[in-house]
């Protein structure tokens, strides 16, 4: 089975892009499933079910969504392998713009939209910078110039990535993406022993453990302060 991780800021069009791309993959005879990771709430699993795509949903709730992702991705992979899917796509939102739940040796796709502003590529960390494929959406509503400037900014922060433009509404471009997703040499049976491409941010302070009171005396553990002198 091929595992493909898809990440991107909330509302960038990940689900639309995945749905349209799976259409093309199914036509080529692939068995495709999705694992949807989100934070508090998602309806997307219903969208996948409606499209006849096997789906597992995981909500991280009070935990860091990306830590939750890594802690569960091996089980999800096992589910995919056991069910004999050809391709399993994991979908997760990069909520803090830094994280990259990308795994070495596993194809990584980042979805980001033209409306997010031309400085956005600068602000997104490994999620964008270490992706193999960057999909840019919502190109149908901005000018050609803005599309070009945006794509060139993405290229500056990740020159090695294949940059693709996809219209999540019509699906234009999704066939092309589908041709890049399956690679026989990337078949896996398990994720055990594989490594993340980039370490996740550390978080171990009293607030991680449920503290709600504000003030220095309540802060313990890995706490860092802003520099306030000018």
């Amino acid at each position: 089975m091929n595992l493909v991780t898809v990440s991107g800021p909330p509302s960038s069009g990940k689900t639309s892009v995945i749905l349209k791309t799976i259409d093309s993959l199914k036509k080529r005879g692939f068995k495709v499933a999705v694992a949807k990771f989100d934070c508090l709430y998602t309806d997307d699993d219903i969208l996948y079910e409606k499209a006849g795509i096997p789906v597992k949903k995981g909500l991280s709730g009070a935990l860091c969504p990306d830590h939750y992702f890594v802690s569960n991705v091996e089980e999800i992979t096992k589910w995919g392998v056991d069910n004999k899917f050809d391709i399993l796509i994991s979908e997760s939102a990069g909520l803090c713009n830094r994280c990259s739940p990308y795994i070495k040796g596993i194809k990584a796709v980042c979805v980001i939209d033209n409306l997010s502003g031309i400085n956005t590529p600068k602000k997104i960390g490994p999620m964008l910078k270490s992706a193999d494929i960057v999909v840019i959406t919502k190109g149908d509503i901005v000018s050609q110039a803005e599309r070009e400037v945006f794509a060139s900014r993405v290229n500056t922060v990740n020159p090695a990535a294949a940059i693709m433009h996809i219209n999540g509404l019509t699906g234009q471009g999704s066939f092309e993406l589908s041709t890049l997703l399956y690679d026989e040499s990337l078949n896996i049976e398990t994720l055990k022993g594989k490594e993340l491409r980039f370490p996740m941010p550390a978080a171990l302070c009293s607030y991680c453990l449920g503290e709600t009171r504000i003030g220095e005396s309540y802060q313990m553990g890995n706490v860092r302060k802003m520099k306030m002198e000018d």
Binding site: S24, K27, R98, S100, N114, L115, G117, I118, P121, K122, G125, P126, K129, S130, G139, D140, I141, V142, S143, Q144, A145, E146, R147, E148, V149, A151, S152, R153, V154, N155, T156, V157, N158, P159, A160, A162, I163, M164, T170, Q172, G173, F175, E176, T179, R197, F198, P199, P201, A202
Partner: protein, 334 residues
């Protein structure tokens, strides 16, 4: 390669000036550190900083090399001109062969595309943009300059084959007209920036019914002005040899001149439209049916005469519109 590891940052910058954009966009501050080599620079960052800012040193070294190669390739070529695009027969949605064998489209030509929604116009454009080689659902094949095209057209962000102008596009940035065009010019690394910016704004004003100045915010341009600016900017600054137009609304812009501007810049214009005035301006039109090219019609002399009539009607209509706008009483225009 290129001794990336040995050279000082200052030496790299003077050899590859475009690297300053790379350092800047990747948030790497190099001021005061120009005399270090890249490995020294990265080694001098403290560990907290590397972790906080999610800097991946190995990956960055690799990306810098990649970026330099791309930019050198990008700056080095001018001879890369697309003179013709050829579409070779594929199949429609039912798997039947299309009713044409070969369509060759030349620089400076306007080709209209007609057919109901869902008939396969997007797929045709998709095939061209992806330079299909028997590997899309239609099995079409696209040739560039009568040759099997370079794969770079598929993935390069600086070499896109098709630029698009469509009805529902907007400007979303908060910039003045001048700043906006300047930003685009900078991303394309053009020389003599000032001259090109001026030319674009002049041309856009030439196409727009109502004039605007370089310091107008782009978000406050009227629909016609926006379209005029988008077209002038795409014609002059976009490197893509093919321009796809998805209808141009007939208000506040001289569409005939807009098309003339595009073909005078040696573009190939593909136009999806059901407006007879636009469609008949094309040299040919492609009729799409059931996902395939059903017919290719050359615009006949008779059609051109009809186009003349339609343009007269259009002029009359817009004269009434102008009168209405300026608060006049409408009288018959002869």
């Amino acid at each position: 390669m290129k001794n990336l590891e040995i050279k000082k940052i200052s030496e790299l910058l003077s050899e590859f000036p475009f690297l300053s954009a790379f350092f800047n966009d990747n948030g790497l501050e190099i001021e005061g550190k120009e005399e270090l080599t890249l490995p020294e620079y990265f080694a001098a960052l403290d560990e907290d900083e590397i972790e906080d800012r999610a800097i991946d040193v190995d990956n960055l070294m690799f990306q810098i090399g990649e970026f330099i190669e791309q930019m050198i390739a990008f700056l080095g070529k001018d001879e890369d001109i697309v003179k013709t695009v050829t579409i070779l027969q594929g199949t429609d949605k039912s798997g039947n062969k299309e009713d044409f064998e070969k369509l060759e489209i030349h620089q400076g030509e306007i080709i209209s595309i007609v057919g109901p929604t869902g008939s396969g116009k997007s797929r045709l454009l998709g095939d061209i943009e992806w330079v299909a080689q028997n590997d899309t659902p239609t099995s079409r094949k696209i040739l560039i300059n009568n040759d099997i095209p370079d794969k770079k057209w598929r993935f390069s962000s600086s070499d896109k084959l098709v630029a698009q102008l469509s009805q529902n596009m907007n400007f979303v940035m908060d910039l003045s007209v001048f700043e906006f065009v300047e930003l685009h010019a900078e991303s394309r690394l053009v020389e003599n920036k000032e001259i090109i910016i001026k030319r674009i704004i002049d041309k856009a004003n030439d196409l727009a019914g109502e004039k605007f100045s370089p310091d107008t915010p782009i978000t406050s341009l009227s629909g016609g002005q926006s379209r005029a600016l988008m077209i002038a900017d795409t014609a002059i600054l976009s490197k893509s040899p093919i321009i796809l137009i998805d209808e141009i609304e007939n208000a506040g812009i001289d569409r005939k001149r807009a098309l003339k501007l595009l073909i005078s810049e040696d573009k190939i214009v593909l136009m999806a439209t059901h407006d007879p005035i636009l469609a008949l301006m094309g040299n040919k039109r492609i009729v799409i049916k059931n996902g395939g090219i059903h017919k290719i019609i050359e615009t006949t002399d008779q059609e051109r005469e009809i186009l003349n009539e339609l343009e007269k009607l259009d002029k009359t209509l817009s004269a009434y519109r102008t009168k209405l706008r300026s608060g006049e009483i409408i009288e018959k225009i002869s």
